[in-house]
Amino acid sequence: MTSRQRVIGTGLLWLVCVWAVALVSPRVVPWMTGTNPWTWDVVRRVTPLTRWDSGWYVNLAEAGYWEPPTRVGQETNHAFFPLYPGLMRILVRTTGIETSLAGNLVSAAAFLAALLLFAEWTKRHFGEDRVLPAVLVLLAFPTSFFFASVYTEALALALALAAVLSFERGRPLAGAAAGVLAGLTRITGVVLAPYLALVTWRASREAGLSTGRAAARAALAGASPLAGFGLFCLYFWKRFGDPLLFVKAQHNWSGQSKSILDGPALIWQAVVEDVTRGRLLGGSPARTFEGLYLLLFLVLAAVLLVEKRRPEALYVVLTVAIVFSSGTFESAGRYVLPAFPAFAALARLAGRRAFFGTLVALSSVAGALYVWAFVHWYWAG
């Protein structure tokens, strides 16, 4: 069995396990469930791995973008990027399958592609021995089930890896195409820009290109996800007359008026509130865990920095910074998922086999609990 087959086999097995837990979950303690905000027609048809923000992607795939928001606190689908729901729509229109299932299939296909690319990237940067532990860390991370859900994480990860690997291998056009698509997938595409510029600069110089050509390639690489985001803005400008509608929709999402600069202060207020009111594990456990994930990823960024993997460290830090700018820890455990270098760094724990095995096992159990909570309409990220 080749390394690629082992990786794809592991990925398929993981998908089967996640789906098995998701399908069994409604029968496990069925009376314990959160408030389901969706209407009857949607509830009765969507898959169990379609909850919370998945509804916006289902809606976008079926209905497209609505009229722009007119007031703060009005939630509209302009806060979501178009590529993922666009792929769902193509699949639905060509096959007639249920829209949420189309999302799950897009996610699964993207995730298997991402897993192969992640294995290749890890082998390239850390050696063959790190590949399987890194894949295991990624799969066993408690919030990794989002890769199988109707969310953009799998597609964002696949495109980020495709862009990075293409630029590293000296295939700028393929890399730029993946970068543009990443910029059309989710906001993490924007923080991919400096990472792509830096890895392209590094790869170009190692390949013996002149400073000028290396700089040109780095600029192309860095510009590609920004170009994707720019296309998104251009579309909103042409259609609704507001190129920054995405920013406006994000801003309006919250009931309070705030800016990116207010983000860290709002998060600090929430942390102080949780600590002083003793709500760490009682009132808002998901938020507490999400704070811990952020800390973990900051530590892993430091590890990458110590290993002199500066572009990778920067990418992880910027991914975490997105959460801090949002003003809330909510979804942090999901937002960090495309920060793949952190998973490869965490896999160095595989040197301590017993500890690593225990960690993976415990994390997998936590992952199963997350799936149960998600299926039962509890906030999971």
Binding site: R4, Q5, I8, G9, L12, L15, T39, W40, D41, V42, R44, R45, T47, E62, A63, G64, W66, V92, R93, T95, G96, I97, E98, T99, L101, A102, N104, L105, A108, A109, L112
Partner: protein, 262 residues
């Protein structure tokens, strides 16, 4: 690539599971009640639907009712076994304060009567027009009604509604035109996807940014399923105008312009 074969197989299997189609027709005879409504809002009449089904054939009959939406999963579909000539009151089993539709099907003729009643018997009852499946608009057809008014004496609203057997084709896509009464000036126009449940436009002036009190006609072109699925029965739009003083309501006439007739 060999590694993709299991993935393709799994994807096809899942896709097969996800390719739901509308349920098979239960019989050639149909009745569509576009609105069943119950409410308990303070200060308003406590409305409740009163619906009866009668077997008008000379033989025992089985009638299937599909509620959309129901108040619970197990009341979405109900089967009534009716003796010849028997009349049965249909339990409403619809959620509070949201419009549902009832769709009846049977292999032999039957009659449905529907009204919305004030449980205190103060406001007059509203007889609901019962349609046949053939009356509903199909993709390519247009539905027109009006005028929708908002005056000191009266106020109207309108609603997009569909039989629950369309659940696997929903949501529907429409092109909506609001014009001044009698085919006058265009006031608003747009293409959009409806919700998957009956959608009441309670305050069209706010929703479509019209000047308060502007009277208008509604023209709906039915474009089809937003999920590219075949539409089995179709959709309907009804309008209701209510007298503010007496709470007496009346349905506006909805006209269907078939696609082939245009």
């Amino acid at each position: 690539m060999r590694g993709t074969a299991p993935l393709a197989a799994a994807a096809l299997a899942l896709a097969g599971l996800g390719c739901r189609r509308s349920p098979a027709p239960y019989g050639a005879h149909t009745a569509f009640v576009p609105v069943a409504f119950r409410s308990n809002n303070p200060g308003r009449p406590p409305w409740a639907p009163r619906i009866e089904v009668t077997n008008t054939s000379a033989a025992p009959s089985t009638v299937r009712l599909t509620r959309w939406p129901p108040d619970a999963a197990d009341s979405e579909s109900t089967i009534f076994d009716l003796a010849p000539g028997e009349t049965r009151t249909v339990p409403s089993r619809v959620p509070l304060a949201s419009v549902s539709s009832f769709f009846f099907e049977a292999g032999s003729p039957f009659l449905v009567r529907a009204e919305i009643v004030d449980r205190r018997r103060i406001a007059p009852s509203l007889a609901v027009p019962v349609l046949k499946a053939e009356d509903l608009a199909k993709p390519g057809d247009r539905l027109t009604l009006g005028p929708i008014v908002d005056t000191p004496g009266e106020r109207s609203h309108f609603c997009f509604t569909y039989p629950g057997v369309e659940r696997d084709a929903l949501p529907f896509r429409i092109h909506l035109r609001l014009t001044a009464p009698g085919g006058g000036a265009l006031l608003w126009e747009g293409t959009f996807v409806l919700t998957g449940l009956p959608l009441v436009i309670d305050d069209p002036w706010k929703r479509f940014h019209l000047a308060p009190g502007t009277a208008f006609d509604v023209d709906v072109a039915f474009l089809g399923s937003a999920r590219s699925r075949p539409v089995a029965r179709g959709m309907w739009v009804y309008g209701i105008t209510t007298d503010r003083a007496t709470a007496a309501s009346r349905f506006l006439e909805t006209r269907v312009v078939r696609g082939s007739a245009r």
